[in-house]
């Protein structure tokens, strides 16, 4: 059982607080994702867990055992590197056997475990090959097999898929998820791809400037972002500044972009400035039966296959992105009036910074 507890972890590089007083509890068997923009400290945090970056203050424990003072080679983590880090001077099988040899596993056991691990990542029979005879996706699978085969306490992934093409990336992330669940291993996964994070995680921590903005399940992170930053980082939301007005017992009126929006609940005192997050898919073209409506004009239409994206201009000129199903016949020309409907419960208001 490997639950991970990170307490008040800090690491600075000169003036940069790469990891800034982070505390996290990760349950056994969880796939926990660190998500955030470039430079927010994801890699630093992961490498502190692996033992490659020294801890300045705070602690890391696996179960009851504090590990932040152990040398990297004694921490029993299995790391999958962004650039695979396959040893070029060893065959595929030798690469996978590498950690087992270090653990002094008997030769017979090594053989059977390596074969099984290669089978798991769908590379059965590739053992004798030399790494340069493999494609990028295959190399990444070798890297995963090499980390899995030692049955580490914790699996660590640092943007493992970022060097692969889009299609392979979506296939591989499913494979990673299934392997992790089948083996019941605790895993920490670093990515800056929000879709990848949402697709495979049990829980996500969104990081910004070395601090945790929010820790939650993918659904809650997406639907109930606690900060404007999280809302903006997950999905291309529309952020519209406004001013709160009266609360009618159910919704709050917010004046924004030259019109008015209704937001569920009492979000702010009247007169307080707020920031509204309107997800493109929370807006739709009204069929006339809706209660909450805004009037806008069509500025531009992008046809993207399964969906089309409408760029609507609000009365004061603010642009909104609206996702509409691609199949829906829609042949309005730019400049045409649009009536947009929404559910007040799906609009989120943040106090304006």
């Amino acid at each position: 059982m490997t639950a991970i507890r990170i307490e008040q972890l800090t690491r600075t590089f000169g003036p940069v607080r790469a990891v800034d007083n982070i505390s996290l509890d990760i349950a056994h068997g969880e796939l926990f994702t660190l998500l955030g923009p470039s430079g927010c400290g994801k890699t630093t945090l992961l490498r502190m867990i692996a033992g490659f970056v020294e801890v300045e203050s705070g602690s890391i424990s696996f179960g009851d055992r504090r590990i932040d003072n152990l040398p990297a080679h004694r921490r029993d983590t299995g790391m999958v590197f962004q650039n695979y880090a396959i040893f070029p001077n060893h065959t595929v099988a030798e690469n996978v056997a590498y950690g087992l040899k270090a653990r002094k596993v008997s030769a017979a056991d090594i053989k059977s475990r390596v074969d099984k691990a290669l089978e798991r990542v769908r590379l059965a029979g590739y053992g004798p090959r030399s790494p340069h005879q493999l494609s990028g996706g295959q190399l990444q699978r070798v890297a995963i097999a090499r980390a899995l085969v030692i049955e580490p306490a914790v699996l660590l992934f640092d943007e493992p898929l970022s060097n692969l093409d889009a299609q392979l990336r979506t296939e591989m992330r499913i494979e990673i998820r299934q392997l992790q669940q089948a083996l019941g291993l605790t895993a920490i996964y670093v990515t800056h791809d929000q879709e990848e994070a949402l697709a495979i995680s049990d829980r996500i921590a969104v990081l910004r400037h070395g601090k945790v903005e929010q820790v939650d399940t993918p659904e809650r992170i997406y639907r109930m972002p606690q900060t404007a930053f999280v809302a903006e980082f997950l999905g291309s939301t529309n952020m519209v500044p406004g001013v709160a007005k009266a609360f009618d017992g159910r919704n709050t009126q917010v004046a924004a972009a030259g019109t008015e929006f209704l937001v569920r609940g009492e979000v702010a005192a009247p007169g307080a400035p707020v920031l509204l997050s309107l997800r493109p898919e929370a807006l739709r073209l009204s069929d006339g039966s809706d209660a909450a409506l805004v009037h806008a004009r069509l500025a531009l239409r992008e046809f993207l296959g399964p969906v089309q994206r409408l760029h609507a201009t609000l009365p004061d000129g603010t642009r909104l992105r609206v996702s509409a199903l691609g199949g829906a016949a829609f042949d309005a020309l730019p400049g045409a009036p649009l009536v947009l409907a929404y559910d007040p419960a799906q609009i989120i208001a943040f106090p304006a910074p």
Binding site: G51, F52, A72, H73, G78, M79, P88, G99, A102, P131
Partner: protein
């Protein structure tokens, strides 16, 4: 990881402190003591400043180094430009040959000049025979010529890299904006290449200043710093260790200053040849192309000619000091009839030194490249100190340090090996850290992550990955150790005399034939391994992914 780096750094610093800094400190100390009583004084420096002889010696050394630097740039820059931008026939071979003079022993080249143009030289005698007298090549002219011809590759290599690092698009952009070709050269090319020229030029300067063998062969009566230091320390009649110490300190000061400037420039700018698109070869008229080819091949051939001449002369008979045109292996017979010992010593000492240098240098290079910390910064700095210390001075320091006391090394083989290791260490450190820079650090991290300790990872993963580069470094250290003269001449004992020592004494005496044979042996000893690694490196390049 950190522990491994710390252990390597501390261990190496201790070694360097004992075998480099401590001996140097003793040299410095000797320079501020009154000989005999040991009282503190600046008198030794005052004596130098007052002595016309010593000032002349310093002046000659600086002048020769300065002239050689200028001339090396004058031939090195055009050669580098032709190699980079002109479609010279046989370019690959030319490149290989152009780097040869750096590893061939320069005093052999100097000796070749004596054989050809000296008092009893082949050419001199021939020309005198038909009534054309030629000026003396002894002293300044010969020394500057030899320095230029053996050191110009130091300019060619970085400048060539600089020319190739100029992205074609930069030059095209400059021309696209309406500049003429010469304008583009002035505004785009030169600013990029200038630091490379400076870096290469300063290396020539340092090497020329430190060099002992060339002035020892060619100076005749002119005083030169490196030779005077040796004579003052080891001379039978006029020994004056305190003055030797003071001159040493001055020489180190000069080279250290040049080295600091050089490092400053190299540190600021990296010349990577990874320009996205190497600039196109210039389209020249056939005439210009021919001129470029003749010039390029001419420089390289002239610089290698002395070595060819020595090989040739070594199979001719001498009658006394006078060369005859009869073929014969008498010279070699004389060389080996004495004893096989010196040749065997050369091979053994060079082998032990090369292995030891790489064993010590590779971990240092690794730590310096991988682990940035104050300690590794210090190691990097101390590891480069031997560059600024000539072999003679280091050897003097070693003798003073290990002539008595708890560790007595003088007279044995170990002190020679130590001198070679210390002198070649910067090279080993640089070449291995260059290789490490090309290795993906996540490979080592993956190994550590899988449970292999950092020291074992270094030995079982990093070293094999560095292997091809390390073999190259090993061979080059071997070659330069085998032809080392300046430290050897101070440190050898009769039991451990090397081929270079035999040659030196033969030149000093009248054993012209013997010297030629010894020189030829040295050329072969250095050239053969070089050819071997060339093939090996090529083969490895093909198998490396």
């Amino acid at each position: 990881m950190k522990r491994f780096a710390t252990i390597v750094a501390l261990g190496s610093l201790v070694l360097l402190a004992v075998f480099l800094l401590y001996p140097l400190a003793l040299v410095l100390d000797a320079s501020v003591r009154i000989d005999g009583t040991g009282a503190f004084t600046f008198g030794n420096y005052a004596a130098i400043v007052k002595s016309r002889y010593y000032l002349g010696s310093i002046g000659n050394s600086l002048l020769a180094a300065g002239l050689a630097t200028g001339l090396a740039c004058a031939i090195g820059i055009p050669l580098a430009f032709c190699l980079a931008r002109v479609d010279v026939p046989g370019r690959a071979l030319l490149l290989t040959l152009a780097s040869l003079p750096l590893v061939l022993p320069s005093f052999v080249s100097a000796y070749a000049l004596v054989l050809l143009f000296g008092h009893a030289g082949v050419v001199t005698t021939a020309l005198r025979g038909i009534g054309i007298p030629i000026g003396s090549i002894y002293g300044m002219p010969g020394i500057v010529i030899v320095f230029t011809l053996t050191l110009y590759p130091y300019v060619v290599m970085p400048v060539l890299a600089g020319f190739q690092a100029v992205d074609a698009s930069m030059e095209e952009a400059a021309r696209n904006l309406g500049g003429s070709q010469s304008y583009a050269v002035r505004t785009v090319l030169l600013p990029i290449v200038m630091p490379a020229i400076l870096a290469g030029g300063l290396l020539v300067f340092i090497e020329a200043l430190e060099n002992f063998g060339v002035p020892a062969v060619l100076a005749e009566d002119r005083p030169f710093l490196a030779v005077d230091i040796f004579k003052l320390f080891a001379g039978e009649s006029d020994a004056n260790p305190a003055a030797a110490g003071a001159l040493s300190v001055l020489l180190i000061a000069c080279t250290a200053l040049a080295l600091l400037v050089q490092r400053h420039y190299l540190g600021k700018r990296r010349f990577s040849t990874s320009a996205r698109s190497a600039p196109a070869k210039l389209s020249l008229t056939p005439g210009l192309r021919l001129a470029a080819a003749i010039m390029s091949w001419g420089i390289v051939i002239v610089s290698l000619l002395p070595f060819a001449a020595v090989l040739m002369v070594s199979v001719l008979r001498f009658r006394g000091p006078v060369l005859t045109w009869e073929l014969g292996l008498d010279n070699y017979a004389t060389l080996l009839s004495g004893s096989y010992r010196p040749l065997l010593n050369t091979l053994t000492l060079a082998s032990v030194a090369a292995v030891a240098t790489m064993l010590i240098g590779a971990p240092i290079g690794y730590v310096v490249a991988r682990h940035r910390s104050r300690l590794s910064g210090l190691l990097d700095f101390v590891g480069m100190v031997p560059f600024a210390v000539s072999g003679t001075i280091l050897a003097i320091g070693l003798i003073v340090a290990f002539n008595s006391g708890p560790l007595v090394l003088t007279g044995g083989w170990l002190i020679l090996v130590i001198a070679y290791v210390v002198r070649k260490l910067p090279f080993a450190i640089r070449s291995s850290s260059a290789i490490v820079h090309q290795l993906d650090p996540s490979l080592e991290e993956a190994s550590v992550n899988l449970g292999v300790s950092p020291s074992k990872t270094f030995a079982t993963l990093t070293v094999p990955l560095m292997a091809s580069g390390l073999v190259g470094g090993l061979v080059l250290v071997w070659i330069t150790a085998a032809s080392e003269l300046s430290a050897t001449i101070v440190l050898y004992s009769s039991r451990w005399a090397t081929t270079t020592v035999v040659m030196y004494h033969a030149i000093e005496g009248t054993g012209a034939g013997l010297a030629a044979a010894a020189a030829a042996v040295l050329i072969l000893v250095t050239a053969i391994p070089l050819l071997l690694i060339n093939r090996r490196v090529n083969k490895q390049e093909a198998t490396v992914i």
